[in-house]
Structure formats: structure tokens, C-alpha cells
């Protein structure tokens, strides 16, 4: 059960640390991380494995929304299947 966490917004100190810290807390393994700039905005993408996640998906979304609000950034969690469907034939 893999998913991509995207964090988009104005770059601040400790983005990776805080997001991966929350992942560790919830039993989510971070498998890969990349960063880029999208239309002047900072964008971080994490590939994560949710199979050992300790909370429900609704709680997971709430936790990421809360962290996003604290950092002033938009965090999205989207399952890998969505990107596979849209971007591979």
C-alpha cells in the first residue's frame, strides 16, 4: 500500500524533518524523497509505505492537514494507484 505525500508551499526550515517525523510517529515508512520548484513554489514529494500505518485513513488525512496548517503549506496524501492510472498506459 504505497502513497505519495506532496508538500507544496513557501519553503521553510525543517519541512522534511517535520513531515518524516509525523510519518515515523504513525508507523509510515518513507522510501524516497525528492524536491523541486513548481511555479515558484517549493514542492517536496515523498514515496511512503502505508502497510504498517497505525491509524485510519481519515485520521491520517487529519494529521497531515493539521501539520500543513502549522507549517503554512499544503500537504496531500494520494495513493500510488492514482498516478499509475493517470500517467502510465
Amino acid at each position: 500500500m504505497k502513497a505519495f505525500v506532496t508538500v507544496i508551499g513557501k519553503d521553510t526550515v525543517g519541512v522534511i524533518a517535520r513531515v518524516s517525523g509525523l510519518c515515523a510517529q504513525l508507523g509510515i515508512n518513507v522510501e524516497d524523497v525528492t524536491q523541486s520548484v513548481l511555479q515558484g513554489m517549493f514542492a517536496m514529494i515523498m514515496l511512503v509505505d502505508l502497510s504498517a500505518c497505525t491509524v485510519t485513513s481519515a485520521e491520517l488525512h487529519t494529521a497531515f492537514d493539521k501539520l500543513g496548517d502549522e507549517m503554512g503549506m499544503k500537504i496531500n496524501l494520494t495513493r500510488q494507484e492514482v498516478f499509475d492510472a493517470m500517467h502510465t498506459i
Binding site: I8, A43, L47, T78, Q80, F83, A85
Partner: protein
């Protein structure tokens, strides 16, 4: 990063968060043919039980998919066998009792709409059809989430002019009975030619007699994503490049719909029906089919060139979507409702878009004259004339066409009606008020057109 490029990941996230990409509807089609009973009370009981059993987990499962996968899914709906087919067995029943049953069952399972308070009368009336049609205004006024449709013509059978005459009155009456609620009754009523039997979109959804017992249809959306993609294309890019980009974007949007259809079908244990490859606008800024046409290079939707741009869009959406889905059905194409599309509303307000231009556009779009607010004093015969014109376009061109107009009772051209939510708001558009009364009152059946010797 895995097999997927980060640019693709950010594109998808941008489509969802900024460009209103969503799956517009997951609609469960349920056959009610096994609920037919000469005792209307028993029939209604069977209907209620079947809907609340089959769709018991629909909302929960679809919301779960939305949360688990991070895909916005806006509506959960149900379509059922045309109620006129059940009504035929109980000649003394009050048809509105069936509408109340659909309303109660839909509310019990938490769906947004139930479609199928319908009759298929393209060749003539069978038992139950006339009673159902005559009860439509009352049914729509006395229920909240029930939608109604009537198929009055087809390419193979011609146009049932008696039904067209009746429907002019029913549209007007539906608005009159809900005049205190922005005439909402008429917004829940569609008059079709060549109605598809597997359409997941409201208000015209019903579960045709050729469909299986229960199935899941998905209607995709995403005009905002198509517009945003076109906005990045240089203004001197050729029209071939425009078509190619629409196809590519439609492919991605549709794959998302197919993924949701597969998941919903699997989790509900119900076969997947069709994907409706539609661009369905919302009143949100930027989520507009009119804006796509303007992005192609029109000053404002409705100007000369609009029909050509819409023809390209409608065709490219299908070409992109067909490869992305297992089974295509429903209406599939670009919708051009006025009150549900921010760009159409603006074009109607400035006078760039007229009903006559909309009629031309319906020859190349996926449906027809949709969510158009007309003056409250429009006569039923004029509405019937409008229906006949629109149905003739569908009949001759072997395509679905429909009329969903809302007479704004007590109001005149220039004022507005505001339905709220996805139904939106819009200005009252003037239309030609000269009378087609003699033509409409002739009745009979307008003959089906030649299907060969085409020029």
C-alpha cells in the same frame, strides 16, 4: 522516484487541488422490474427494500475510496427502472406515492439524487405512461431528491408529438408548483430524444430495461483541468495541437474515473457498468466548459466560432477517454448547461450567448439545452416548440439531445434565479415568443428520418 516522474505527480496534485478535477458521480443503477406488483403499497414496499438493500453501503464505500485514495468524489446517486413500467401494473395507484418512496429510500441511504421517475414514450404511450407524465409536476414539488425524465423521440421511431405537447405543460407546471423555491421542480426534469439507458448524470439518469439487475456507473469531470492545460499552450499553436492536448488530458481524467469504477465495483460486489466521459462544469470559477472554448481563442463563449470549438472539444474528449476506459456509455462529451457554468452565465449576462446559439451548439455537444432559465410567462406551446426543435436535432443526427429549461414564474428576462449548489444560478434568457400552437396541437408522430442517402 518509483516509475512515476515527479512532474506527473505534481501535475495530478495541481489538477485536484487547483483545477477542480474530481469524479463527479458514482451512480448505482438498480432494476426495479422485480418490484412490480398490482398492489401499489406492496410495490412501494418492495422498491424501498430493494434500494435500501442494494445501496446500503454505497455512500460509505465511495466516501472510503475518496479518503483512502485521495480522489475527490462529489456525488453518490441512484438510478432506477423507469417508474412508468411499474405503474402500468397498478391502474388505481397514485403515481406520486412511488416518488415519495424513491425519495425516502434515497434519503435513507444518504445519496444526493434518485433518478428514474421516468417514462419512455418515443413511439407511443403504454399503460402507466400518461399517468406518470401527468404526475411529474406534483412528484417533483412533493419530493426533494427525485429526478424525472421522459424520452419523447428517437432516430428510429421519430418524435411523439402528443408527448411533446404534454411535456410543454409539465415543464411549466413543475416550475409553477415550486415557484416559492426558485422553480426548482423544472430543474429536476429532462425531456430527451435518444435517451441513453445507462446515464449516471442527473436529472436524466434512469436504469434502462436492457441493463443488469444492479451495476455501478461513474461520471468523470474536469473542465478546469482541460482549461488549465490549454492555458499553457502558446496562442499560435495549431488547432491540431489543441485537439491533441484535450485528448491527452481527457485520457488522464478518464483513467481516474475508471480506477474509481473498478474499486467501487470490487468493494460493493456489483458489476461495473460504464464510464461517462463527460466534461461537467460547476459554478466554481475556472471549472467551466465556456472557459475552455474561450481558451481556444474566442473573445467570449457565444461568438462566431463557438460551435466549431465545441465540436472539437466534444470529439477530442471522447477520443481521449475511449482508450482510458473499459466500457463507455451515458452521455459522454462536453456538457453546456448555462446556470451550472460560470463562463456560460457570464456570456448569457453580457448577451454574447443566446438560446439560438445554444441550440446550434447542441448539434455538436453531448446533450442539449440544459439549465436555461426562460421568462415565467413563456407559454407551454413555446416550450413544446423548443422541445420539438431540440429533439429534431437529436433525431436527425443520431445523438442524444435534451431540454431542461426552467420557466422563472413571476419574473422577466434580465432577472435571475439562484438554485444554489451545483445547479448554480443564471439570468433569465429571452426567447422567441411567437406561437407554434397550431403545429404543437396537431399531435401524432413526426416520422423517423432516412438513415441512408445522407448528404
Amino acid at each position: 522516484m518509483s516509475m512515476i516522474r515527479s512532474g506527473d505527480i505534481l501535475e495530478t496534485i495541481g489538477m485536484i487541488t487547483q483545477e477542480n478535477l474530481d469524479v463527479r458521480t458514482v451512480t448505482m443503477g438498480i432494476s426495479l422490474l422485480d418490484c412490480i406488483d398490482p398492489d401499489p403499497k406492496k410495490a412501494c414496499e418492495k422498491i424501498y427494500n430493494k434500494i435500501t438493500t442494494k445501496a446500503a453501503n454505497l455512500v460509505k464505500v465511495v466516501e472510503g475510496i475518496s479518503t483512502d485514495y485521495g480522489i475527490p468524489i462529489i456525488n453518490k446517486r441512484i438510478s432506477v427502472t423507469p417508474i412508468a413500467m411499474l405503474l402500468g401494473a397498478c391502474p388505481d395507484a397514485d403515481p406520486v406515492d412511488f416518488a415519495r418512496t424513491l425519495d425516502a429510500a434515497g434519503k435513507a441511504v444518504g445519496v444526493n439524487f434518485v433518478g428514474g421517475y421516468s417514462a419512455l414514450v418515443h413511439k407511443g404511450f403504454s399503460a402507466g405512461d400518461v399517468r406518470l407524465i401527468e404526475s411529474i409536476p406534483r412528484a417533483l414539488a412533493e419530493t426533494d431528491i427525485v429526478c424525472s425524465s421522459v424520452n419523447i423521440g428517437s432516430t428510429k421511431s421519430g418524435l411523439n408529438m402528443d408527448a411533446i405537447r404534454m411535456m410543454g405543460y409539465m415543464v411549466k407546471k413543475s416550475a409553477e408548483l415550486t415557484a416559492d423555491r426558485q422553480c426548482i421542480g423544472a430543474a429536476k426534469l429532462v425531456v430527451f430524444c435518444n435517451a441513453p439507458e445507462d446515464n449516471p448524470f442527473m436529472a436524466g439518469a434512469f436504469h434502462g430495461p436492457g441493463e443488469p439487475d444492479c451495476e455501478i456507473h461513474v461520471g468523470v469531470s474536469g473542465p478546469g483541468a482541460v482549461r488549465a492545460a490549454l492555458a499553457k499552450l502558446p496562442k499560435d499553436a495549431s488547432i491540431d495541437q489543441v485537439a491533441e492536448l484535450v485528448k491527452r488530458t481527457a485520457f488522464k481524467i478518464t483513467r481516474l474515473g475508471q480506477l474509481v469504477a473498478n474499486l467501487a465495483s470490487q468493494q460493493l460486489g456489483v458489476p461495473a457498468g460504464i464510464i461517462d466521459l463527460s466534461l461537467a462544469p460547476t459554478p466554481a470559477v475556472g471549472d467551466s466548459v465556456a472557459n475552455i472554448l474561450e481558451e481556444m481563442g474566442l473573445e467570449q463563449c457565444g461568438c462566431c466560432g463557438t460551435t466549431a470549438c465545441l465540436a472539437l472539444l466534444n470529439d477530442a474528449v471522447k477520443k481521449g477517454g475511449v482508450m482510458a476506459s473499459n466500457h463507455v456509455g451515458g452521455l459522454s462529451g462536453a456538457f453546456i448547461p448555462v446556470s451550472e457554468d460560470e463562463g456560460m452565465i457570464r456570456a448569457a449576462e453580457t448577451g454574447s450567448l443566446t438560446i439560438e446559439k445554444l441550440e446550434a451548439m447542441t448539434a455538436v455537444c453531448s446533450v442539449g439545452l440544459d439549465m436555461i432559465i426562460i421568462p415565467g410567462d413563456t407559454t407551454p406551446e413555446v416550450i413544446s416548440g423548443l422541445i420539438a426543435d431540440e429533439a429534431a436535432i437529436g433525431m436527425v443526427n443520431s445523438k442524444t439531445t435534451a431540454v431542461r429549461v426552467i420557466p422563472a414564474i413571476g419574473r422577466k428576462a434580465g432577472e435571475i434565479l439562484d438554485f444554489g449548489g451545483l445547479l448554480g444560478y443564471g439570468p433569465i434568457m429571452p426567447l422567441n415568443t411567437r406561437s407554434p400552437e397550431v403545429f404543437i396541437n396537431r399531435g401524432g408522430r413526426l416520422p423517423a428520418p432516412m438513415q441512408s442517402l445522407k448528404n
